[in-house]
């Protein structure tokens, strides 16, 4: 294996924001109808990382959501489950117990989520705690302050260290693009994260706006594309925060399809970090099948 070093990260291409906006607008003109829509909506459900990341989370709330993760809408048989359930490290053990007989993975945020303002040792301990408690996936945050002050080396090494601490758990690296300000920075941070060993790159914590805009997701998908063309290694993508409607979710899938292709269109390589998206997708699925919209009161909120 090649020694991992920031020196291996190639220069990032410049990004023209106006051009990106235009390209994204074109994805949004794609019209997804009939069986494509149904297939897409089910894929979306199966790609969701159901999430609760609140200071007021309790074991009770986590248990309820674990049930929802496996039973999105039992009145309508044949629906997939979500991909994973995402919690704080302190809740991993509880979720692990609830989800032990299901395909739903357990993801844990770590590295002093959401700010990332903690010493490296604390972040490593945080990560190991979550992995030991049974997390299948770790969602870390990068040190945005270090990134913005130009300490790319630090950011790179930190990601590489966390990756090592993850062991078998897959690592998602959150760039918190809302704090990076420019698409050039988003691209640079994506390249750093990918070359440092990220299994997934992820837009946001959900705590900062703007979060997963299509422009940002597009820029990150292009970084994944370039890395794949360079190395043949696939990296996953997770837009998180701000995707709450089926339409927007489908347009994200259109981007993935047209930039990366069908191999990425499954929850091994693409996820949505969202808490309210699932119910909107369920509503659309039932509307597509029955022809009428149901009241939102028919869809459970856990």
């Amino acid at each position: 294996m090649k020694p991992i070093s920031f020196l291996n990260v190639p220069p990032s291409p410049s990004i023209d924001k106006v051009g990106v906006e235009e390209r994204v607008a074109r994805f949004q003109t794609r019209s997804i109808k009939d069986q494509s829509k149904m297939q897409g909506l089910k894929m979306v459900l199966n790609m969701i990382d159901l999430t609760t990341l609140e200071g007021k989370d309790t074991p009770g709330k986590v248990r309820q959501m674990c049930y929802k993760a496996q039973h999105l809408h039992d009145l309508h048989p044949g629906l997939p489950t979500v991909a994973a359930f995402c919690v704080y490290p302190s809740m991993v053990a509880i979720a692990k117990k609830e989800l032990k007989n299901s395909n739903v993975k357990i993801a844990s945020v770590s590295t002093a989520f959401p700010s990332g303002q903690a010493p490296k040792e604390v972040k490593l301990t945080d990560t190991k705690f979550a992995v030991d408690a049974g997390a299948d996936e770790i969602d870390m945050v990068i040190s945005r302050g270090k990134f913005l002050s130009g300490e790319y080396n630090y950011v790179f090494d930190e990601i590489a260290a966390i990756k090592e601490a993850c062991g078998k758990a897959r690592l998602k690296v959150i760039l918190e693009t809302g704090e990076l300000a420019t698409l050039d920075n988003v691209r640079r941070a994506s390249d750093i994260a990918i070359y440092a060993g990220a299994d997934f790159i992820k837009t946001s914590t959900g705590k900062i706006q703007p979060a997963a805009t299509m422009q940002v997701t597009y820029t990150m998908l292009m970084a994944i594309r370039d890395y794949f063309d360079e190395t043949g290694i696939m990296v996953g993508m997770k837009p998180a925060g701000g995707i709450s409607t089926s339409k927007l979710a489908l347009h994200n899938l259109v981007m993935v399809k047209e930039i990366l292709g069908d191999p990425w269109l499954n929850n091994e390589w693409f996820r949505f970090g969202a808490s309210s998206l699932a119910n909107d997708v369920l509503m659309q699925i039932l509307k597509t099948e029955t022809g009428v919209y149901q009241s939102s009161d028919y869809f459970t909120i856990d």
Binding site: S14, S31, P80, T81, L265
Partner: protein, 485 residues
């Protein structure tokens, strides 16, 4: 139940724009003097849908006598009504035409796609809105001509004979009619024989708008109809958009007459990518430059120049992007590349593709399902092309791109200018100073920086050298229709 790692592919189901809301007559007469009149020629020809070769409508073929009637009607309307009308009143009519078009935008878009083969995405989002905007824009100028030409006396010319091409049928009609009316001229317009229908629908709107009879006359037909307009003794101005070959014939025909002319002709425009360009956006710009409207664009970026050190990467990315283009039914909202406008044009394009292969250039076409019926051409690029290849010199007017590499700025300027044409160019770089350096040295009427094929009514458009003369659009677009003293 969990769908684990779905391995099937996800394809877009057909999403067809409806056609039930459009109204097309079986047979269209000529629109002369505010009335629909049967052609004196007695002849009609079929306008077909190039996507499936079905007949959409029969259209009158105007002969010399018909054109004479139209010019007489235009002259009468000019003398008696239009030249005497207060400019602010003229503006109201132009504005009304714009509003009526806007109200029926969807119908225009569908008919344009049916008749011309262009994708509904483009006719809906580009052609029709832009056509409306041209009328809106020039409506605003009608009563402000003294500010457009300060300290000059501005007079209209009289009767304008206008001949337009088949690539942007409605948009070209708007480009021609709007400034002519705003400056107080009357019009005899001939659409191209393969795409008469939206011009005829525009005639219906003109009728509805109450524009005085004879101010705009639409005569459909072939080259002989156009020749009759050009050679008519009572036409004051010829505005032509089309091929350089026909442009030369027109210029010969009107030499020694009093007729003013603006010609917007062919092109072989250079799209130049420097190594510091935003590469993915540049690739998108290449695609928009050459595959927009099936490459039937006079300013298409048909000659790509890529700096040698990034050429492999750009070509790889371009091929990837081409693989995600959908070629097919123009009415499908997801189609990126529609039908070639006519059988003749498809034959021309195929002839050039063959020439390219014979010249030893390397061809790439993505795998795409091309409909069996109708006229289609897969997006095509040629690499390993030399400046001396025919495919790099002649206008193909189809989705065919030639790719050459360059090493230095001077080299690319020299090669870009080394063409009898000079319509447009694109420059892709992160360096502002380099953009300005190139815009002053490239001999082209329009130069886009970090974008391509952007049109706006406020912006003038036109060529250098054999790409023609005169400008359309913007303040400059008024000049071709006025006499200044």
């Amino acid at each position: 139940m969990a769908i684990e790692n779905n391995t099937e592919s996800w394809d877009y189901a057909p999403s067809l724009e409806g056609t039930s809301h459009i109204q097309l007559k079986k047979k269209y007469d000529l629109f002369i003097d505010g009335k629909w009149v049967k052609p004196k020629s007695g002849k009609y020809f079929a306008s077909i849908n190039p996507a499936n070769e079905e007949v959409l409508a029969e259209v009158a073929h105007a002969n010399k006598a018909d054109v004479d009637l139209a010019v007489k009607a235009a002259r009468k309307a000019y003398n008696n009504v239009w030249s005497k009308m207060a400019p602010s009143e003229r503006a109201k009519y132009i504005y009304r035409i714009a509003r009526l078009m806007q109200e029926r935008a969807r119908e225009f878009a569908v008919i344009e796609s049916l008749d011309a083969g262009k994708t509904i995405r483009e006719s809906r989002d580009i052609d029709v809105p832009l056509a409306c905007n041209h009328f809106f824009y020039y409506a605003g100028w009608a009563d402000k001509l003294e500010y457009a030409f300060p300290n000059r006396k501005v007079e209209s010319l009289g009767v304008a004979g206008q001949i337009i091409p088949w690539n942007f049928p409605l948009l070209m009609a708007a480009w021609k009619i709007a400034p002519a009316l705003a400056t107080g001229n009357t019009v005899v317009l001939k659409p191209a024989e393969t795409t008469s229908l939206t011009a005829l629908k525009l005639a219906e709107i003109i009728e509805e708008s109450g524009l005085p009879a004879g101010v705009v006359n639409i005569v459909t037909g072939f080259g002989d109809t156009g020749a009759a307009i050009v050679n008519h003794h009572d036409v004051n101005k010829i505005a032509f958009t089309g091929s350089t070959a026909v442009g030369k014939i027109i210029q010969k025909a009107i030499a020694g007459t009093h007729k003013k002319a603006t010609l917007e002709l062919g092109g072989k425009s250079a799209n130049i990518i420097f190594d510091d360009a935003p590469i993915d956006q540049a690739v998108e710009g290449i695609v928009n430059g050459i595959f927009f409207n099936q490459g039937h664009v006079c300013c298409a970026g048909s000659r790509l120049f890529v700096q040698e050190n990034i050429a492999d990467k750009v070509i790889r990315k371009l091929k990837q992007r081409m693989d995600s283009l959908y070629v097919g039914n123009p009415l499908d909202k997801n189609t990126d590349i529609g039908a070639i406008n006519s059988k003749e044009q498809l034959e021309t394009i195929n002839k050039y593709i063959q020439i390219g292969k014979n010249e030893g250039a390397e061809m790439y076409q993505p795998k795409c399902d091309i409909p069996k019926k109708g006229f289609y051409c897969a997006p095509t690029i040629f690499t390993n092309v030399a400046q001396s290849n025919v495919i790099a010199q002649e206008e193909i007017f189809g989705p065919v791109l030639t790719i050459q590499t360059f090493r230095t700025v001077d080299e690319v300027i020299q090669k870009a200018n080394n063409s009898p044409y000079g319509l447009a160019a694109g420059v892709w770089t992160d360096k502002g100073s380099r953009i300005f350096n190139l815009t002053t040295k490239l001999r082209a009427g329009v130069i886009w920086a970090n974008t391509y094929n952007k049109f706006d009514p406020t912006s003038p458009f036109g060529g250098y050298k054999e790409s023609g003369f005169g400008r359309e659009g913007g303040l400059h677009g008024l000049s071709g229709y006025v006499k200044l003293s």
